[in-house]
Subunit: 421 residues, 2 copies
């Protein structure tokens, strides 16, 4: 990504709790994304406790090495909140009482029918020369300070205060300084290995214009290709570059791409079921309910998801799904024929258009040489037929469960896409 | 928490990807926990990109303000990996070729039947005067450097390399320096509000010895009380303090505490089912499979979890569970009588000792004035009876689903605990 010239940028997250094993600053992910959108790259993130000397030292260090410094947190009314004081000392400026801020905080308390507690008086002091950023969602105002070539921004820590303040007051000011932007698109891919995907898209890299970037990420059961195009001024030509790049990648990866606008696999499958007017029932063994759970995470899924059965034991497979016990005896509960019978059974009994099934060994116990941990059969039944797929997944129990549901959903997705023809 | 005297500590996380919106350093949570265990408080966390000048600047800043500096990442074989070089320059030391490291890396490749790529030659250079920490899980060795009163530690970034190296080589060295420690216990609580919990344990605070600390955290469906006791030398008396404190809290919170040793709710319930020799079957509507999914996340759950049914539609409730359609017509699918009939139905059909059911409105659609989004009935059936509980949960679909399963599991847990009597 290209840097907005000379705007070396640093984020300062303030709070003793952010240096415990229990909490992590997440505001910075939001800030980095929005700054990147403006073509601003973050060079440093510093996390520091509510300690006056340490905090002041961090501001001094930041002012030496960065030109844009955004701090978050430590603007509250308690003794612990030291960000204003530390920044003022680092800048060599005074804190001055601000009547407008005072009125606004008093008014906020009055609306709730209480007097302003004396501790909040502290929040009425602002750094001399700072622009005050009103906070409609809390008592702590933000501050925008210019000192020579340095811009120092103090934002409150709670996300529901920080985010609106950033969008309303910081974004337009930075936009005016920079005028750069980054356009982004995320493609989600499944059903191929990371190396196969890399092989396929390798040919695109030499064609990549200098303002465009491709990042690939791998998760269990999912790959991502993240496309970005940096530009300045009018975004029209950048949008064209991004669109062309996306088309090139889509051509290389074909139906392996299941999401182009951020949707999850279960949302993609749900949208296809809905648009085709089809219904679904599920029968799960080793995935233990995760398949139905994922499908029903989608709002409105009750219009196409009819029912699910978790048939852990053999008698359940027989009683709930009509899988013949002789079939289980012959092939074993973890087998292609049983996966098929489960999918057909749940479809027929539920009266759905499709039946989807999973049977396998999630581990860590229960594996054998012939049927190892991670062996999973997925079955799909439709009105005129059925198909079974066999896979071996690696990883701990939860990962095997997830990957088996990802595979089952993908099998259904591909079948639904064929329906179109 | 008390600080180990004069050991001002800083963590440096190195990697350009850690300054994108997609990744966050998580190693530091592990490091902070283990350092806190030794009574070492972390004063700063700095995240910096793979940029030689920025990285060297961070080492210089750290050496001015901290006495223990632990960096993670940037020790790999690529051009981007600059941590060794930057630390050497900040220290004013040379990189020297290390024959032992070279032999070990070559041997690692030989075992995989390939020659060491030339890029790995870089990893054979170590900072002059450093103690080399062998890496059994990767090619990058760690480095322990003493420079005056400063201890500088370079660790590899991948968690499966960093964690074992910390335990084997860093922990004993720091233990020898410090001799402080922190003992910890986490109690997980459900079935009460945060404010009720605070009211109950408030009386404990004045009795708190100065070396002990209580932190409370609130999540949807779960509260936590985190106890810690800091000490030095022999931990026996600190263990007694922690034990006494835990007993005080347990007395205040009683059966609301479901976990004392880190176990999840589903593990706690699973352990009770197993110890009582009982079996379970589940019938879910609005939770859509999450109850069965959570129960089957526990390895070995097939010994007590017999089957699950996700009966989204009314006909499924009737056909799979035997819930009379007239009952649904009279009371509605989301009602106490239907929850009870679902629990009894799934227990009888599965032949289990217990039947657990959930029916409700997960949202965002489907709510009415009389039956709002978040209204959930949970039913529990046992051989000689049944009980139903009604709750209204707040939050988005996934949160309502989770809270309804947490409540159902807790109802079963309390019943299983009574069985003991």
């Amino acid at each position: 990504m290209k840097r907005t010239a000379d705007l070396k940028t640093e984020i300062l997250a303030v709070g003793t709790e952010l240096l415990t094993p229990y909490f992590q600053d997440t505001n910075s992910l939001f800030l980095i994304e929005r700054l990147n959108d403006l073509g601003i790259v973050v060079a440093f993130k510093t996390i520091v406790a509510d300690d006056h000397e340490d905090l002041m030292g961090c501001f001094r260090t930041a002012m030496k090495r960065s030109r844009l410094i955004i701090s978050m947190g430590g603007l509250g009314p308690t003794e612990d909140d030291r960000t204003r004081e530390a920044a003022a000392e680092a800048l060599g400026r005074k804190l001055v009482f601000d009547k407008t801020v005072s009125r606004s905080i008093r008014e906020r308390f009055r609306r709730r029918g209480v007097r302003m507690p004396s501790s909040n008086r502290k929040q009425c002091y602002v750094i001399d020369g700072a622009e005050v950023l009103t906070n409609p969602n809390g008592t702590a105002p933000g501050l925008w300070i210019t000192s020579g070539s340095i811009r120092l921004v103090l934002l409150p820590g709670p996300p529901h205060e920080l985010k609106p303040m950033f969008e309303k007051d910081i974004w337009p000011r930075l936009r005016a300084i920079g005028s750069g932007f980054t356009l982004r698109r995320v493609l989600k891919i499944t059903g191929m290995s990371e190396s196969l995907m890399e092989d396929r898209i390798r040919a695109v890299y030499p064609k990549l214009p200098p303002e465009a970037d491709i990042t690939t990420l791998a998760y269990p059961g999912e790959l991502q290709v993240r496309l970005s195009v940096t530009g300045a001024g009018d975004p029209t030509s950048s949008e064209t570059v991004l669109g062309t790049l996306e088309k090139l990648i889509l051509k290389k990866l074909g139906e392996n791409v299941y999401s182009r606008t951020g949707e999850t696999m279960e949302e993609a499958v749900g949208a296809l079921l809905r648009s085709r007017g089809r219904t679904l029932a599920c029968a799960e063994s080793c995935s233990g309910g995760l398949l139905s759970h994922r499908l029903t995470n989608v709002p409105g899924s009750s219009s196409y998801f009819l029912e699910g059965v978790i048939s852990y034991g053999n008698t359940s497979k027989n009683r709930l799904l009509g899988v013949p016990l002789s079939l289980i005896r012959e092939h074993g509960a973890v087998s292609g024929p049983v996966a098929e019978a489960m999918a057909l059974g749940v479809m027929r009994r539920a009266g759905s258009d499709y039946g989807l099934s999973i049977t396998g060994i999630a581990g860590p116990e229960g594996g054998t040489a012939a049927k190892p941990v991670g062996l999973v059969y997925t079955g799909l039944a439709w009105r005129s037929g059925a198909a079974v797929e066999k896979n071996v997944f690696f990883g701990r129990r939860e990962i095997v469960k997830f990957q088996s549901t990802q595979k089952a959903l993908d099998v259904l997705r591909r079948r639904l896409m064929e329906e179109e023809i």
